[in-house]
Subunit: 150 residues, 2 copies
């Protein structure tokens, strides 16, 4: 578990420094994303925020994660077939292991791509800003329970 207050504090300071208001809704979203190793969907964030602040709307969730994403403090993982997932603990490129059945997402410890982006930039002339490395498959639980849903 990454120390809660560290990421949370960093994000909140950055928000304030940039002149954004720290509303209760934003605070709730930051709290959830900063202290969580999971890769949450907008729906999950919405449900958790509503426990604190029952009047929260979906629009605010989306606006807040977009703000945090634009600040570089949350990584948005888009998937075509389901919704986006958000990672506030490690907002930088890293490999993911995605279960196609229960939809859980893990961060496997594999050697990073290291210099590949830089080499590729040199070879192709692209200015490389980001990358994604995702492995898709069935987690051990879903191999045993072929019907389990998320």
């Amino acid at each position: 578990m990454i120390p809660s207050t560290e990421r949370q504090g960093k994000i909140i300071q950055k928000l304030k420094r940039k002149g954004f208001r720290l509303t209760p809704q934003r605070f709730a979203v930051v709290k959830i994303l900063a202290n969580n190793e999971e890769h949450l969907s907008a729906q999950e964030i919405y449900e958790r925020v509503k426990k604190d602040i029952p009047f929260t709307s979906f629009a605010t969730i989306y606006r807040t994660v977009a703000l945090l994403r634009d600040m570089g403090e949350v990584m948005e993982l888009g998937f075509a077939d389901e919704g986006n997932r958000y990672d506030g603990a490690r907002p930088y490129p890293h490999p993911h292991l995605v279960c196609i059945q229960c939809k859980k997402i893990l961060d496997p410890k594999v050697p990073s791509l290291e210099e590949l982006p830089r080499k590729l930039a040199k070879k192709t002339g692209f200015q490389i800003l980001n990358h994604r490395l995702d492995f898709f498959g069935l987690c051990p639980e879903c191999q045993k329970n072929p019907s389990r849903e998320r």
Copy 2:
């Protein structure tokens, strides 16, 4: 350029062998996807098919690429922010270089991941079925023309 008739013939034979009909619409979609190194959107496939068969509908495009995808003959690349892209020339995992401005997608020649999927499966217990490695950035042209749209 990959030899046209080879992929095209293989796909058509497979369709027939599996008992699917080779309608003019399907033939047009196969022709476009099999003989094309680009990564086309559904919209682009639709437009090109309509040149041959003006009455074609979007539904048929989607049903056809889904059929080819399920047969393993077309790779569907889903993106969250824009539509899917389809690759009929290389329907197996390989890295992509994606320009975030003009949306072109290239296949860079980089060392493949080799044994990483297998190692990861062994370490995590996941049954790994697929993977994606995408690099995002600005292509040389878009670096010069920051406003160019696709």
